[in-house]
Amino acid sequence: MARLMKHHLFWPLTMLAGLLLFNLCYSPDFFSIQIRNGHLYGSLIDILNFGAPLIVVAIGMTLVIATKGVDLSVGSIVAITGALACMTLSKSSDQNGFAVVLLAIVISLVLAIVLGLWNGLLVSLGGIQPIIATLILMVAGRGIAQLITSGQIITVSSPRYNYIGAGSLLGLPFSVFIVLAIFITALLLTRKSALGLFIESVGTNSEASRLAGIRSRAILISVYAFCGICAGIAGLILSSNVSSADGNNAGLWVELDAILAVVIGGTSMNGGRFYLSGTLIGALIIQTLTTTIYMIGVPPEITLVVKAFVVLVVCLIQSEAFRKKIFERRKYRKYSDKAEVTRHA
């Protein structure tokens, strides 16, 4: 039992189970999944479908946070890629053409990588604090997204493009498969090769890893580029789900939710250790929380208050100083006489 509790997935899973249990008590048909026209319908499927962009962003964010960094610009990248893809589609004569859709996807993902590389270069070569380096793109990015869409909300009518975010495969939403593909790729790359270890060592001490022969800079740049491409894919899923691009509101606050998901998943903001599976569960917790709050019928904005307390509690549990204070007090209560004796001895 003690070993089970020490497992890094114990608390996140307990939290998720608790949330689901609450939903079960509150509305028993929460778990019911129906089949309509060959698609699965139900709250659980909704959570997977609407949570997909967040999970994808959070996977990229996990690796960045593992290097002791943070990427604030993901929300802007989400907006930019969505805007660029929709713009490319709406400019073409045949919006549903396979080549056009492919082109739109490819150029927006290339742009997403470029933006990620830009962040990576600022952090690694420029030596600028990650918060600040990515803040630049966070501020300017929304402007760029609006520049691409000329401040309008662009709508496209392209069933092929729409498939990415709203289509379904084998009865499940297609976005779930995208998430799985990215998750498995990231997991294999980091855990079946030395890359994960390199990322953790750069996060622990970048200079020491460089001296040990790890190319810290290259690792940093590629991690930010990966985070960029993850944000880009999330942008495509989001914009294709609603068949439109909104430079102002697409992906708003997604960076905060992603950071929250990573932290809930047990990855420390201090870098040096990361849990992709934890992040996956963290993102699911956030999405379940949002769905639950919608279901209960309180104003969805109140989610923010709940999130605030979740962040605080998780951070307090992670904080060494906090644990030490709680732990020491207990120790003193138990062994107060002994402590007295040793002090006088």
């Binding site: 501020v139 300017a140 402007g143 903001m269 904005e301 605030a308 307390f309 100083a321």
Partner: protein, 321 residues
């Protein structure tokens, strides 16, 4: 003689003057005292927030909760005045107290539990915004006579120009900020803390008190700014000042404060805010340029100032070493 350490602030002031003069040459009616004063009128709340933010950043931290705190202040003031019918003389001190307490709590969490300021103030940001919606999800319009008169009173200056009461509050805040930063023990402790926390502890400086006070000050400044913002908007709304924390951080950085802490000037922040104001004014004078250019230009400025800072600091440290 000019000291090297004043270089960033000189660049900021020069940039502000160049932009203003360029605007004056390009647009008729730009070069007037009133345009300059309008910069202050429209950015009074940003100025006040940025002062608190400067202290936080000089101490080596960051405060993301300021925008939400402004929204919460407008919301609490509006609901207490409109729905409960309290007097402004009770409400304003109360919201200032709330702001300071909020900041103090965040500071305590940051110091005693050693959690990153980024995360703590992020939670504070969520909490304050969420609390706005707990009060109401709609806009509450204020038609209290005191608030109306605060919003509409123009203080006439010689030459037919005018400023608002908010500008006076902001300028007093700047003056107090400069005094506190450069002429008090607390100010010097903040600089020491930002320079190196380890050394500050070893020197026996009151690190805990300073750190908590810095966030308290920032919370107080954002509440004060919220009061001024309420005068400006005459309403309370949960979406007020959305993303203002970024504007404030950008103003502080453009003003020459190093994000690593330990170096910075309140006066620089003043010009940082003014530069943002000038960009907005130029864009509105241009007419054909859309508002999103503001974001792009501010992003570019942020970038160039950060790179400039980077070069400046590496040169300084390499000379020392």
């Amino acid at each position: 003689m000019l000291k090297k350490q004043y270089l960033p602030i000189i660049v900021t002031v020069a940039l502000f003057m160049v932009m203003f003069v360029a605007g004056a040459f390009r647009y008729t009616g730009f070069f007037s005292l009133q345009v300059l004063l309008n910069l202050l009128i429209d950015n009074a709340f940003l100025l006040i927030v940025a002062i608190g933010m400067t202290f936080v950043i000089i101490s080596g931290g960051i405060d993301l909760s300021v925008g939400s705190m402004i929204a919460l202040t407008t919301m609490v003031s509006a609901s207490l005045i409109q729905n409960v019918g309290w007097s402004p003389w009770v409400v304003i001190p109360l919201v200032l107290m709330i702001g300071a307490t909020f900041g103090c709590a965040m500071g305590a969490l940051i110091h005693y539990f050693n959690i990153q300021p980024f995360i703590v103030t992020l939670a504070g940001m969520f909490l304050a915004r969420g609390l706005c919606y707990v009060i109401s999800i709609n806009t509450i319009t204020i038609n209290n006579t005191f608030y109306m008169s605060m919003a509409q009173t123009k203080i006439h200056l010689p030459g037919g120009n005018f400023i608002s009461i908010s500008v006076l509050i902001a300028l007093v805040a700047v003056a107090i900020g400069i005094y506190v930063a450069h002429y008090t023990r607390f100010g010097r402790n903040v600089y020491a803390l930002g320079g190196s926390e380890q050394s500050a502890v070893l020197m026996g400086l009151p690190v805990a008190r300073t750190k908590i006070l810095v966030y308290t000050l920032s919370g107080f400044c954002s509440a004060l700014s919220g009061v001024v913002f309420t005068f400006y908007m005459l309403s309370g709304y949960g979406l007020h000042a959305n993303g203002l924390e970024l504007d404030a951080i950008a103003a502080v950085v453009i003003g020459g404060t190093l994000l690593t802490g330990g170096v910075g000037y309140i006066a620089g922040t003043f010009f940082g805010v003014m530069i943002q104001g000038v960009i907005q004014t130029i864009i509105s004078f241009e007419g054909t340029l859309s508002s999103w250019w503001t974001k792009i230009v501010i992003g570019l400025l942020l970038f160039s100032f950060i790179v400039f800072q980077r070069i400046f600091t590496t040169r300084r440290s390499s000379r020392r070493g």
